[in-house]
């Protein structure tokens, strides 16, 4: 019980202190850019109504998931092919290194040329930015499949789809998840940026609207919503990862205990 309480104190103490400091420091603030936290919090429910959540937050999240899903499927599929054949890998490596190094937001003007400014553009932007970390990590993971395991599987006659699912992808999955995690933060960046560029709804659009209209407390609530979205997505990701990679973390922990 005491240990539980202690953990609770550790968990909550600093966030509460920081929020308290923010509250006190900003309470009599007259600087228009740093409104009192009290004002921001009272503005929050007025701005983020159910209507706004449906009209702005939902489209953003749908674009984000669509782009991310496309990137995950394409990245893992292409990455598995490239990683499985040494020559293909050597052929593609320099081009991939270059394409990965392009900062993804500069693709927005290019994709706007092709896809206009509708949802296709945003989904393409998100997908084309997220695909590289997933693809390159899949290549690395597939390449690093334990040769003993691969040959054991072969001598047991495990081939084709079963081999792909149970041997190759399974042993590459820790790497793939590392790529998916990197891609998630890129996806959020691209979602916001693409909506700031050209959109008629969405989180990025709304926040920039607030800023241009000098609705500063509203803008601050938007920043808070974006922060919460980033936090929630990363928690969801961790939950999924813990489930899918449970076997791997268990393996690592037991390997560490018995050196």
């Amino acid at each position: 019980m005491t240990r539980f309480l202690l953990r609770l104190v550790f968990l909550l103490a600093l966030p509460l202190v920081l929020l308290g400091l923010w509250w006190l420091a900003s309470d009599d603030s007259t600087n228009p850019f740093w409104p009192p936290l009290r004002t921001i919090l009272t503005t929050f429910p007025d701005v983020w109504t159910a209507e706004r959540l449906r009209a702005d937050v939902l489209p953003s999240i749908l674009r984000l998931s669509a782009g991310y899903a496309v990137a995950a499927v394409v990245g893992v599929a292409v990455g598995t092919v490239i990683g499985s054949y040494r020559r293909v890998r050597a052929l593609c490596e320099p081009v991939l290194e270059f394409l990965r190094a392009i900062p993804p937001p500069v693709l927005i003007p290019v994709i706007m040329l092709f896809a206009g400014i509708d949802d296709t553009m945003k989904i393409t932007v998100i997908a084309s930015g997220c695909v590289w970390p997933i693809l390159l990590n899949t290549v690395e993971g597939v390449r690093a499949v334990d040769p003993v395991m691969a040959e054991t599987a072969r001598s047991y006659g495990i081939t084709g789809a079963a081999r792909l699912r149970n041997v190759v992808l399974r042993s590459a999955s820790p790497q793939i998840f590392a790529g998916l995690r990197q891609a998630l933060s890129i996806a959020i960046i691209l979602m916001v940026i693409s909506e700031m560029f050209a959109a008629s709804n969405g989180l990025g659009f709304t926040i920039v609207q607030f800023q241009r209209g000098f609705a500063i407390p509203d803008m601050w609530t938007g920043i808070l919503v974006l922060g919460l979205l980033g936090f929630v997505l990363s928690v969801v990701f961790q939950l999924v990862e813990r489930r899918v990679l449970g076997w791997y973390h268990g393996l690592r922990a037991s390997a560490r205990r018995s050196p």
Partner: protein, 257 residues
């Protein structure tokens, strides 16, 4: 083996460039949207002989380097402090886990209001994004500290400072280097993004201008430049990492194989 790989890589690059030339020429995509590689190369040549291009490149590199330097030093100092001071690690864990995933682009409106399109807005975004990369790696690295080595150092009478210098730092260095490498890439992304969206002077702003004036080949040329810049930064960071860790097993093992 390495020779074949290099030949294959060069072939891949050649095929990529040839496709870039052929696809618009054959009319598969509109030339107005995707100019052939030769025209992009021409535009790149024009850019390279333009003084304002080099100023823009300099601005981008300044933002990147300053932001990265501040983020790395702050990340290391805070990371070591949080790990060394008793109970601080436990007390800050929840705050770090909450602040880290906040996308730095959420700060764009704030940066615009506070600093306009100055270098300082770029720095705000770059530092916020790269700081967490370094901090988290430093924290992991110090957690990895071998208790036997630490207790040996203690029983030999090393003070806290000497233990930080000779036990903690070498343990954490591989992680710090990973953090710096990741942060370098993230810092470039955020520098260019900030320039593109906010309009702070630099390559990003130049891309935005090219886009608005329908100068499509120039736009592609500038994007290629940012890609090459990213490539140089990635390769450079990996080289620095290898040099700084030449003594470390993970690197020594790689060389031996």
């Amino acid at each position: 083996m390495r020779g074949t790989n290099a030949v294959l890589g060069a072939t891949g690059l050649a095929v990529f460039l040839a496709l870039g030339e052929a696809v618009p020429r054959l009319g598969l995509v509109k030339e107005a949207y995707f100019p052939p590689v030769a025209r992009i190369a021409g535009a790149l040549g024009d850019e390279l002989s333009d003084d304002t291009f080099w100023t823009a490149l300099g601005d981008t590199l300044t933002g990147w380097a300053l932001g990265l330097a501040v983020a790395v030093s702050a990340g290391i100092v805070v990371g070591v402090l949080v790990s060394v001071v008793p109970y601080l690690r436990e007390a800050t864990a929840s705050t770090i886990e909450f602040l880290r995933p906040i996308p730095s682009v959420a700060l764009i409106p704030l940066a615009v209001l506070l600093y306009g399109s100055e270098l300082r807005s770029v720095l705000l975004l770059v530092i916020y994004a790269s700081f967490w990369q370094v901090l988290v790696q430093v924290l992991y690295g110090i957690q990895d500290l071998d208790p036997v080595a630490d207790e040996t150092a203690r029983s030999y009478g090393l003070g806290s400072w000497a233990r930080i210098r000779y036990v903690l730092w070498p343990t954490a260095l591989p992680y710090v280097m990973t953090g710096v490498r990741l942060a370098a890439a993230v810092a470039l992304i955020l520098t260019v993004t900030a320039e593109l969206v906010i309009g702070a002077p630099g390559l990003g702003a130049r891309i935005a201008i090219a886009q608005n004036s329908q100068a499509v080949p120039e736009m592609y040329a500038l994007i290629v430049v940012t890609g090459l810049l990213g490539l140089v930064i990635n390769v450079g960071a990996r080289t620095v990492e290898r040099r700084a860790l030449a003594w470390h097993q993970s690197v020594r093992g790689e060389v031996a194989v």
